[in-house]
């Protein structure tokens, strides 16, 4: 039976074999949970999304009413909505931690550039997916977030205006825009994201996982050609990931059940009011996961330059494999300069995140400028400090 199928659907067996026998470094720590966790959250978003779709109406008149109906009348409708909304926030939490792991251990460096780049593309796709989803309830924040973000594209010279008209399908964000964002959110972006997830995993299995020591386990093979420091993905990491999933679910579900609005970070009170094109809410703030880039936009006192700085802050990630000229990968063996700059980058990213959520007062703007300078310095100065730093020599075999 198994041979009968193996002859007819060989790729499925190859995939299963790969999942089972994939040689992973034996010293992966908790930082390596977040890849599996992002898959878990993706599954949560897909499943709850399918259920939400059974009750949601994408029209300006009925969008909010249909969600209200879902919350009050549909059996467990509230649960799917809270799982989906909190899921979006937790998606960014695990993806940011997943990326931070790459910064710590140099997982973006050769030969993993394509792996890193495909992940960066997925970050942008995830933002587009989150943004279009945010518009769907058609509350005040949905509407004004849609207006502010589409306006950003107007700053592009020459093609800006016609491009925004093309995206909106109307002279201003309207029901036409809502309809197409619905289509993007439900079909277009998820399809592309799923494609990239597959591609990302294929790339990973081609080059192999990095590890906290940042050395290649493929350099030390045994007589059978297996890495001496490698273990089979199953059962070693499937079981370990199950534990990570357990811890994650405990935290995630605590928010879903005990604080479903996430203290205004998951669902904002302003968005419980229906969209009104005539009145802007007093304090417009982006979702927390977009706040760092929004803070950079606000920090620059020029419309076009601000938009450029904001897009640049995201594009910086793409350049990382070529900015880092360090001979070692992992922070364990990099020198003090690299460690201090990564620390400053961490502070500046979190700082931007916080001030991006605050009203644009003098001190908020001032600190946003300081943090923005630190943020960009991390990238722009990297070719210098990563090259001239005092490195240690990494071991030839994994340290546990």
């Amino acid at each position: 039976m198994s041979d009968w199928l193996r002859l007819r659907v060989p790729f499925m067996y190859d995939l299963l074999d790969h999942l089972k026998h994939y040689q992973a470094p034996k010293n992966l720590n908790f930082w390596y949970f977040f890849g599996a966790l992002s898959l878990l959250v993706l599954g949560n978003q897909l499943l709850t999304g399918i259920w939400l779709l059974m009750y949601y109406t994408p029209t300006a008149a009925d969008a909010m009413a249909s969600i209200e109906f879902m919350m009050r009348e549909v059996n467990f409708g509230w649960l799917f909505r809270y799982l989906h909304a909190a899921g979006a926030s937790f998606f960014f939490v695990v993806v940011y931690l997943h990326m931070y792991r790459a910064l710590l251990y140099g997982s973006y460096k050769a030969p993993r550039e394509i792996l890193w780049l495909s992940g960066c593309v997925m970050l942008l796709l995830l933002m587009a997916e989150a943004y279009t989803g945010y518009v769907l309830p058609w509350g005040q924040m949905s509407y004004w977030a849609a207006r502010v973000i589409t306006s950003l594209f107007k700053t592009i010279p020459v093609i800006g205006e016609p491009l925004v008209l093309l995206i909106q399908g109307d002279y201003e964000v309207s029901e036409v825009t809502l309809h197409r964002f619905f289509s993007f959110h439900v079909v277009l972006f998820p399809l592309i994201i799923l494609g990239f997830v597959f591609f990302h995993t294929l790339c990973l299995h081609a080059v192999g996982s990095n590890n906290p020591d940042g050395i290649e386990i493929k350099d030390n093979l045994d007589a059978q050609g297996k890495p001496k420091d490698g273990v089979s993905f199953h059962p070693f990491y499937t079981v370990k990931d199950v534990m990570g999933v357990g811890i994650f679910l405990f935290i995630f579900l605590s928010v879903v059940f005990l604080a479903p609005r996430g203290w205004g970070l998951v669902l904002e009170p302003e968005n419980f009011e229906i969209a009104n094109p005539m009145v802007t809410p007093l304090h417009i703030k982006p979702s927390w996961y977009l706040a760092p880039y929004y803070a950079i936009l606000r920090a620059v006192p020029d419309k076009s330059l601000g938009a450029i700085a904001m897009f640049a802050s995201l594009l910086m990630f793409f350049l990382l494999p070529w900015l880092d000229r360090s001979p070692v990968r992992s922070m364990r063996y990099k020198g003090p300069l690299s460690r201090i700059t990564l620390g400053l980058f961490t502070v500046s990213f979190l700082g931007l995140l916080i001030v991006g959520c605050l009203p644009a007062t003098y001190w908020a703007t001032f600190s946003a400028r300081i943090f923005a300078i630190l943020y960009f310095s991390f990238f722009f100065l990297m070719p210098i400090y990563s090259y001239y730093d005092w490195h240690k020599v990494p071991p030839s075999r994994l340290t546990i």
Binding site: L47, W51, E73, V74, N75, F76, L79, F80, V242
Partner: protein, 189 residues
């Protein structure tokens, strides 16, 4: 390596069992939400119909749970026709048909004067038409229901004729009379 550590094995098995339990528990809300919501269930509540001013032979159609329900006030003559036809019926005693116990009689009703039926053909769900005129469908037609989709025929008690596609008699919904009004969708006390 080759020896099985039973303690570990038991831990794995119980952890697996807990995991399965969790997955089953998580599936409950997803399945439960597919069931009709409270609003849908409210819309499916019993329907009350005033039948006091119906004339003999008149048909009234009301909607109950998305299906047409017919109420027909039968005349003496119509009730008499039900005795004549017995021989051509597939299920004259309504033994293999679907109706509440109080409607499993010759007239398939609580009060012989009022016939209450689901207007859904038991063949493939079309809506048959009420044809009370004698000889309307064929020369022996004593009045009844005719389904134009696939030609199924029923008598004035909704009993199916032999040799037509419909397998059973037309369904009778649960109903009762309350203070002279007809309540459809609810059993009497």
């Amino acid at each position: 390596m080759s020896e099985v550590d039973l303690k570990k094995r038991r831990l794995l098995q119980s952890a697996g069992a807990w995991g399965v339990l969790g997955i089953v528990g998580a599936a409950v809300p997803f399945l439960q939400s597919l069931n009709p919501s409270r609003v849908t269930r409210l819309k499916g509540m019993p329907v009350e119909v005033d039948v006091s001013n119906m004339s003999e032979g008149q048909q009234k159609t009301v909607m109950w749970r998305g299906k047409p329900v017919w109420i027909i006030k039968r005349s003496k003559e119509m009730l008499a026709s039900l005795d004549v036809l017995q021989g051509n019926l597939r299920d004259p005693g309504s033994e293999s048909s679907s109706q509440p116990s109080y409607a499993q009689n010759q007239y398939r009703s609580v009060d012989p004067n009022y016939l209450v039926l689901l207007g859904v053909c038991t063949h493939l769900g079309c809506a048959p038409t009420y044809r009370p005129e004698k000889g309307a469908i064929d020369s022996e037609w004593q009045g009844g229901f005719f389904c134009s989709c696939h030609g199924s025929k029923f008598d004035l008690a909704g009993r199916v004729f032999d040799g037509v596609p419909a397998p059973t008699n037309l369904e009778v919904p649960p109903y009762h009379f309350k203070d002279g009004a007809l309540v459809i969708g609810e059993e009497g006390e």
